[in-house]
Amino acid sequence: MSDKEVAMPPEGVDAAAVAALVAPVAEIIGGAEFVQLLTPEGERVDHPEYSQYVADLSDEDLRGFYRDQVLIRRFDAEATALQRQGELGLWASLLGQEAAQVGSGRALRPQDYAFPTYREHGVAWCRGVNPLNLLGMFRGVNHGGWDPNENNFHLYTVVIGAQTLHAVGYAMGIQHDHAVGTGDPDRDTAVIAYFGDGASAQGDVNESFVYAASTNAPVVFFCQNNQWAISQPVERQSRIPIYQRARGFGFPGVRVDGNDVLAVYAVTKAALNSARSGQGPMLIEAFTYRMGAHTTSDDPTKYRISAEVEVWKLRDPIARLKAYLTSSLKADPAFFDDVETEADALAGRVRAGCLAMPDPEPMSMFDNIYVEQHPLIDAERAGFAAYSASFEGEH
């Protein structure tokens, strides 16, 4: 983070307030333990350990990272709009976290498995989940509308932290399948567990560290530190940087610029490689920012000042990649235009798909509660059918 930003506060924002906010973060971002490969201004910088992991990326890969981020941001904006219009009951926006999600999502191999929270729309995208399916639970038509095993992307988990244990258990299963450390790149498998800065306080998350360390399971813990857990700043959850939590459990932790898609990709790739090769777990803290509200139900003006948001705008993950692609001549204006067009089309598709999403059949609520026959479910289903039929004349 250069001084440049402090020198250029955004329009209408008190320069002193911005400076006060920028200082502590700038210290972190300038620190030796912070992995960055692309500055906020879009300059490629080198890192002794991690540059190698992006060395093989083609220009097309880099343009792909850009495309992913733009599309997912557009999707996210459309979902927010759909919520405002009453088409969704709620939406948890990923705005600002695109690089953290796309960088990590693209580092996964097909056989890897991801366990998301409820905000990993960008990871879902990278895994190939139909974005429309992500809307189901927010629209209230289901609790999760995709087959986790189709894209090795588990359902969203709303209970904070619970999925981290599932991830470790899945990774233990990988070990039991001898699909780790064989050297076969298509066989060796790793798991990635997403969670938030707030979640780091939960017993389950810490137990997942215990189990992963104890079993040396091939799991990468990916914490998106977006600075907030609803209204609670990250300092409430941890007085030291979250990546350092791993030290207490005996595995490595690393902090990466979560708004730098290259650095996130590199760090995640390295961690996944390490896990797949049998080296055990690792914790990544992607230092990023939740640009919007916690969810559409939230009112962040109650607990944070807008200057903070303005400061983080200067670190936008998409803008910096665009600057880099442009200055390095890896993409031309036509490419950017195409992506915009594609984003428009995606948004249109998602909107149309959402509006067309039918409400579930009332009788369907009795389905899939149990795999095997269940007398009480059967009785209630029958009772409900008879009860519903009794109204049939009336409507």
Partner: protein
């Protein structure tokens, strides 16, 4: 008299209790500046400070466990659980520690704690935000469980709960937070004891027992039934543990019929206990079996199905008709 919402009534009750007793602290997630996701603690931190309105880390076992420690030190903690579905990480602390501390210490330790839980469905929320888990806690000896249904009760019950020396699970009817009622904010004593039921409507032909968010449904159902000449007595149970069975039995001995309703799944829900107790106590006066109208025995469904899942006026009336058909 003021017309206030249930949410604001609880806020006012909390405020009054805190003014009276400096040992009261409130602990929970996002209860400070944000005022809680339902704004029930709005402005309390501003007025009572961060020492008394304590924003905690995001870990429920930690909230309840440290609240126990605060109580051991002489404080009277009120814990806010953000949503019903997020109380389970604290289940061990609640069932093994909160519920048992007084007995375990042969009475040497008191744990005057209130655990507030916004409960139930009907708000179009995502998974885990619409649970009715009162039966778990009502089955747990050592706890008391209460549920308010209207603004006046909300205002008084929270104050009474805070004053009790026993630990209390305090249920707030989430989907009714915004419903208004008359409350005399200047009155100096509660209209009724915390652990007693309230006859919300006097009737003759059948007793309808409910609590929390379902009381309004029952009152509406009773009004609809009245139009058809059926006189229904509505009991707002208010306390689920202990249950005011005397009130229910007295009513059933008069009407001869009982329908119990709640949002929770019927199987082993509160209605099971009430039916089991009343079929014994009122064996000779019951003219029909006790009928239960509850949520189906499914995990709470996606919100677009909650209207079908939750007992509504029609389903309550269907239960009433079934009882009257005997």
């Amino acid at each position: 008299m003021s017309k206030v919402t249930i949410g604001k009534a609880i806020n006012a009750g909390l405020r009054r209790a805190m003014e009276r007793d400096p040992k009261i602290v409130i602990m929970g997630e996002d209860i400070g500046k944000l005022g809680g996701v339902f704004r029930v603690t709005e402005n309390l931190q501003k007025d009572f400070g961060e020492d008394r309105i304590i924003d905690t880390p995001l870990a429920e076992s930690g909230i309840v466990g440290t609240a126990i420690g605060m109580a051991l030190r002489g404080y009277r903690p009120i814990v806010e659980i953000q949503f019903d579905g997020f109380v389970y990480p604290a289940f061990s602390q609640i069932t093994c520690q909160v519920a048992k501390m007084h007995a375990r210490s042969l009475g040497k330790i008191k744990l005057p704690m209130v655990i507030r839980i916004p409960v139930g469905g009907g708000i179009g929320a995502v998974e885990h935000h619409s649970e009715s888990n009162e039966a778990y806690f009502a089955h747990t000896a050592g706890l008391r469980v209460v549920a308010c249904s209207n603004a006046e009760d909300a205002y008084w019950m929270i104050q009474q709960a805070v004053e009790s020396d026993d630990p209390i699970i305090f249920y707030e009817p989430k989907r009714r937070y915004h419903e208004k009622g008359e409350v005399d904010l200047t009155a100096t004593s509660a209209p009724r004891p915390l652990f007693g039921a309230n006859i919300a409507l006097v009737g003759e032909h059948l007793t309808l027992a409910a609590y929390g968010p379902m009381v309004k449904v029952c009152l509406d159902a009773a009004a609809a039934a009245a139009a058809e000449g059926k006189s229904i007595e509505v009991i707002d149970l208010r306390s689920l543990s202990p249950l005011d069975l005397d009130a229910v039995a007295t009513s059933v001995n008069k009407t001869g019929r009982l329908v119990v309703t709640h949002e929770a799944s019927t199987f082993l829900g509160m209605g099971a206990e009430i039916a089991a107790a009343i079929q014994q106590r009122c064996f000779y006066s019951l003219e029909s079996p006790v009928i239960r109208v509850g949520g189906y025995n499914l995990p709470y469904p996606p919100s677009r199905l909650e209207e079908e899942f939750l007992p509504d006026l029609d389903r309550v009336l269907d239960g009433v008709d079934r009882a009257l058909a005997y």
